[in-house]
């Protein structure tokens, strides 16, 4: 809720988080589609968006399980430890850092913070190199590995370089408005 007008912040809260219902609840069968009784049993596992889990958790209706991309025993941690720069984080969680920042204080997992920092540190270097060297034709393939935050960083670097190159190449300094110059059709 920190940034009300931030679209990315809102979208980050849409990410699904696994949770376990502590109490049985009626009328919300759509969360747990396995039965038709329109109720959720205590102890059933569901995946809910973060904003909902957060509220339910504060009311002690559900318990949160750590999402697979942050879990201590998960593959993601091992892969980040091995070669962080080439892990496809986008497919795991496009809002990796944002969600991590939100979920860590909520569940009180102190290992998530350092884990995120290490991951970003190593991946930052890769983005730095790529952003200032890659040509536009190679870029899209690499971009699919980046999370939202990293992709924006990459674009910030890339676009300023591109703008500079364009300026240096020159071209017309004064641009003619497209409206001008076609008042009359050329005759012959």
């Amino acid at each position: 809720m920190a940034k009300y007008y931030d679209v990315d912040d809102i979208l980050a809260e849409e990410e699904l988080v696994p949770a376990v219902f502590q109490h049985a609840a009626n009328g919300i069968g759509l969360f747990d589609s396995s039965d038709d009784t329109n109720k959720v049993e205590a102890g059933s596992k569901v995946e809910l968006p973060f904003w909902l889990v957060c509220e339910l958790y504060l009311r002690q209706l559900v318990s949160i399980r750590v999402p697979p991309c942050f879990d201590k025993e998960s593959k993601t941690r091992e892969e980040i430890g091995a070669d962080a720069a080439h892990v496809d984080l986008r497919s795991r969680c496009p809002y990796f850092y944002e969600l991590g920042c939100k979920i860590a204080p909520l569940i009180g997992d102190k290992t998530i913070g350092p884990f995120l920092l290490v991951a970003f540190r190593i991946r930052y270097k890769e983005v730095l190199i790529k952003a200032h060297t890659l040509t536009l034709t190679v870029a899209p393939k690499y971009l699919t590995l980046l999370t939202n935050e990293e992709a924006k960083l990459y674009e910030a670097g890339q676009s300023s370089i591109a703008a500079f190159k364009k300026w240096r190449m020159g071209g017309p300094r004064l641009q003619i408005a497209p409206l001008l110059g076609r008042k009359r059709k050329p005759t012959g």
Binding site: K110, P114, L117, Y124, L128, H132, L153, S160
Partner: protein, 211 residues
Amino acid sequence: MAASSDSQASAFSAAELEFLAEDEMIEIVPNMRMDSLNFVSGDFGPFRPQIATQVPLWLAVALKKRGKCMIRPPEWMSIEKLTQVLEAERDSEKFQPLPFHYVEISRLLFDYAREDIQDVYMVRSLIEDIKDVRFHKIGTGLEIISRERTYALRLKNLSAMEANIVRPFVTRALETFYKLSSPEMIQESDHLSNRQPQVTNRGPRRQLKDR
């Protein structure tokens, strides 16, 4: 969104920087006779044939376009100076002092006053080389942000254009690093740093280039 649009808005476009660079003073040798010009920014002139005078770059370019003067390239644009700078730039880790708007000024002069610069091709390729060396240094220098906690970067002798190019990238990166290494994310992982008073310790300020 708010943060990202802010960092975008703070950046100038290259053309805007060129506009700012046009306020730099430069020496011209007029070939016409004219009284001094009184502008808000100051009085320039009077203009007498073959008597050198200082004017802003925009005025010099305007006069040059009309064939009313010859522009004297600034001292740092001589081959000897540039060769020195290039060598020093290659040898040293630090950035060499150059005019704040050297990229823009050199481009304006190459565009409008080619015939007034001696050995224009040589000068041009020297400046290109210097620029490339410096850009490469910036690229490698920025890696240090990731090494340790960094809250600020000191950009000594960085020119306007260079600073402007890295600005969006660096501000974003620093923001994210700051967010991820904020005390609430990295709590109690190291007890020592927590004991220190938080207010006084604003973290190290890094040189863009470690010595």
